[in-house]
Point group: C2
Chain length 428, copies 2
């Protein structure tokens, strides 16, 4: 029996689905053990419908969600509209009407996933969203299926293609943040309002979803500290280079003795680390665990075909579970009580770039401030003394987030010291 799909939206990702169903139909049908067919496509209005028909798209376009949710022949609703509303209402209606749902909507799932997941569970329906994290990388299913035997201790990710493209240009070509942003916008990688991408918000959504699959914990978006790339200067990039690092916007989720800690922050990544060579719009998820040790999953984080491939993988999975009569299972079955880490348990090395008056004794005073918080230095560089100001670069040994907050506050109290930037420094 054919599996019938109702697509919500026919934008970039949705219009990649027919490509796969045509070009890879044989394999998909064999895997699903059924034909898969796009039965109806929801678009906004008649104008859009006529435009698409005129462009040669031969689908049954509808303009009301009810035409999809009340259609008993439709098995799976595929939401690819984006944004919170009306996507949330439409998915809810679909689940209430007994339809399985596939979505790629990270914003929605990170902020309202819990409700939708419970509704799906209650109704014994599938609600899958592999494409929501790292578009083309099958990371969620890998965490849910293959890494069940392993205990994950930390996940590091390059999960925002736009900011990684920009940072790659800043690192490889010495571009400024502004130039990189302008080019990203010209190439269509960045939106006219790039906030979500460059400030780490998009990556924070993904951190929320990864936390569930990797650690069984459901954290809120507010629990994910995020800092973006807009403050990174060409000096920071050059110092990183000099010390053997590249700067990347890194999602980091780790389990500490007191609980989970998740953040998005520009970080110094050692050049020899596998994440250091993840360039341009590519994404990667680096997993640290007690069994495998270190593994990495690399691929395109977005794009029509890669994202549609993950969406179709979800559809095939639902088809297989329908055949097996196991379709009520949650996408992620790993759940534990959620506990958030005490900041004193969250440790890392840090880089500080500090501007000081160019006079004797300043380094000693800095050393005293750090020492008072029990922070010791791994490397110190004095840069660009120009008779008036000097620039001191410090890489610390491991220190806690609490110590970071304390030392940052202390430094802010000293008028003469201006912290230009501080970033996390990853180990090998």
């Amino acid at each position: 029996m054919t599996i019938k799909l109702g697509l919500l939206g026919f934008g970039t990702v949705a219009s990649g689905i027919p490509f796969l169903l045509e070009e890879n139909g044989e394999k998909i049908t064999a895997a699903a053990k059924r034909q898969i067919e796009i039965a109806k496509v929801l678009v906004k209005d008649d104008e859009e419908k006529n435009r698409l028909l005129a462009a040669g798209h031969d689908y049954h376009f509808v303009t009301s969600i009810d035409e999809i949710v009340s259609d008993d022949s439709i098995d799976i609703v595929v939401e690819l509209m984006g944004r919170i509303e009306p996507a949330k209402t439409f998915i809810t209606k679909a689940l209430e009407a007994g339809k399985h749902v596939v979505s790629a909507n990270k914003d929605l799932i990170a902020s309202h996933g819990k409700e939708l997941i419970s509704l799906a569970q209650e109704k014994q329906l599938a609600f899958y969203y592999e494409a929501a994290v790292a578009g083309g990388i099958p990371i969620l299913r890998t965490l849910a299926n293959s890494l069940t035997s392993d205990k994950i201790t930390r996940i590091l990710g390059v999960l925002n293609g736009t900011s990684n493209f920009m940072l790659t240009k800043m690192v490889d070509e010495g571009w400024s943040y502004e130039d990189a942003l302008k080019t990203a916008q010209e190439l269509g990688y960045a939106e006219s309002d790039p906030t979500n991408d460059v400030e780490g918000i998009d990556a924070a959504y993904k951190a929320v979803i990864l936390s569930q699959f990797g650690f069984g914990m459901t954290i809120c978006l507010e629990d994910v500290t995020h800092k973006g790339i807009s403050t990174i200067s060409t000096d920071d990039v050059a110092v990183a280079q000099q010390l053997g690092y590249v700067i990347k916007l890194i999602v980091s989720i780790e389990e500490t003795p007191s609980g989970l800690f998740a953040e998005v922050s520009p970080s110094f990544v050692p050049k020899s680390h596998p994440l250091a060579s993840v360039n341009g719009v590519m994404n990667a998820v680096f997993v640290e665990s007690i069994g495998i040790g270190q593994s990495m999953y690399y691929g395109p984080g977005a794009g029509q075909k890669p994202t549609a491939t993950s969406v179709v993988a979800d559809i095939v999975r639902i088809a297989r579970r329908l055949n097996d009569a196991t379709v009520g299972k949650a996408f992620n079955e790993f759940t534990r009580e959620t506990t958030i880490a005490d900041l004193s348990d969250v440790k890392s090395r840090y880089y500080f770039a500090i501007e000081t008056p160019d006079k004797k004794g300043q380094l000693l005073r800095l050393a005293e401030i750090f020492n008072a918080e029990n922070i010791s230095f791994e490397q110190v560089l004095q840069h660009k003394a120009n008779g008036e100001t000097a620039r001191v670069v410090i890489v610390t040994h491991e220190m806690s987030k609490t110590a970071l907050a304390n030392v940052t506050a202390k430094l802010a109290d000293v008028v003469e010291f201006k912290v230009l930037n501080s970033f996390k420094v990853l180990g090998e």
Copy 2:
């Protein structure tokens, strides 16, 4: 109800299983929805049994396979002895006795997998072997589950840790093949007879298994051309470096219009390619496909804990399928008719290092020989002319394996030209 395991062998990998069951028991039990217990362990003889007991290993050791296969309480037999026999006989006995089987035995599966897989299918039993390819990388399950929606066009892999460790030393430190081998042996990465690793035979086993999961085709070991790393000279390494490449032992499986082609060969990999930074004993599988485009799966290819993690993932998967009553499914359900590529369809760029007498007109003669086979040059370097001999390095444009065979034969006919080496050259 507890899942009871019968382990065959208690060597490196097998003795990693208790670590995971203890350190990650909670997650494993939650995923499997059952306790998992090592019920019996087969060892060679009483001497070994007594040695292990004295060393504090508190298991029910047995010395006859019959004590395991005739034990009705045992659900899963985990074969971790290695070699073809008696592993093959023991697995067959286990399947015939209605036990599910997990194995990490690439040699056995590559050479006799077909029979064992059919027997398991016939008996509706699970026969899983995630650990057989790239130890800690969950590549087989990813190909079978997540990449069902995608059509794979080529798989490239760094799949032999020993040779990759050696090549990393040769490339990064300028070591000779002999020095690298000696160190690999001292560190326990290479066996006293390193043939399987350095001649690409171990990697060829993995190519056979990957072909099934990636392309649905069951090829024989004899269908995998293999060439090892023992002929790579420090000159080759230096030239690669100079041209922007690193040399790696690459497994390559690609689908051409006429069928599948699989080979293991030392290859020039562009430094910007993700496989170029897979160093030391790490492995990686790089997948090219019509949907995702390019993705890579990176991790340890061997080692006690990583390999045991894959074995336990298989065990958990069987437990879940037992719960779902879907356990009869094949590990890989993707099968098509197997067709082997015509060599004229298999194309690549190639590097040639050729020794010629150091006199005028030699390059012209070389160009004529290549031209006669319709092979054009991308780069030519003349090296180390010493008055007697010169060394000419050529990187060709794309050419077929047929052209490669022809030009190699023609060059062999010219006494003055000595082909020192020729390697495949991968694209970006």
